[in-house]
Symmetry: C2
Subunit: 126 residues, 2 copies
């Protein structure tokens, strides 16, 4: 059992993405990883997939979830995005305000893969 | 892939606990369940355990995590509580404001057990 004081998302090497890992393998977890991110307007994650499910809760701003062959779902504050395991996707801040989200993963650490199947080495503890 | 509009936590049969399930097995998830709850001042969860990890992010108010043989950890807004699988615990709102939290579980549906090992049949979809 432990109580952790959340750290504020801070600039990462991925342009326009501020990140903090609220909890994950570094905190002794074996099943869950939880990230908090802010994506600046006009910025995006790389297209990628995970070997586990992701649920992202948007708390402010808005964005688009791109997937499949040109498919798109829009989301905003107080909406929750469900991404199945192994599903290629990209999250874009298409709005004019910072997009804030808490993302939950069903494994820890979280393995991330680029569209060509190569692992993406993330610049934060997952 | 789907986007869900969050529902606001609503009164449950457990006194002083407002609950909504943001995502879980009913939304097609296989690894994760995510709940949002408000616990009124002076109210508490029953003492219980899960067969999976729980991570609870407190977004407003404050509370106490009771566990083990009389152990206690205090938490408040912008703090995250980590509860290992199978660990008996109780969350109490010991403050004078409603305590808001988002709780994430590493399985779905979430099996919950009372201290005597009997399953607790929760009054919401987990």
């Amino acid at each position: 059992m432990q109580v952790i004081s959340n750290t504020t998302p801070a600039a990462s090497p991925i342009r326009g993405i501020q990140h903090t890992t609220l909890a994950g393998s570094n905190q002794g977890l074996k099943q869950l990883s939880i990230w908090q991110q802010v994506i600046d307007p006009g910025c995006a994650t790389p297209p990628h997939s995970h070997e586990c499910e992701e649920v992202a809760m948007c708390t402010a701003g808005s964005g688009e979830l791109l997937f499949g062959d040109g498919k798109k779902l829009e989301f905003g504050a107080n909406q929750t995005v469900i991404i199945p395991a192994h599903a290629l996707h990209q999250i874009v801040n298409s709005g004019d305000q910072p997009m804030h989200a808490v993302a939950v993963f069903g494994k820890t650490p979280v393995a991330v893969y680029l569209p060509d199947g190569q692992p993406l080495d993330l610049p934060w503890a997952t």
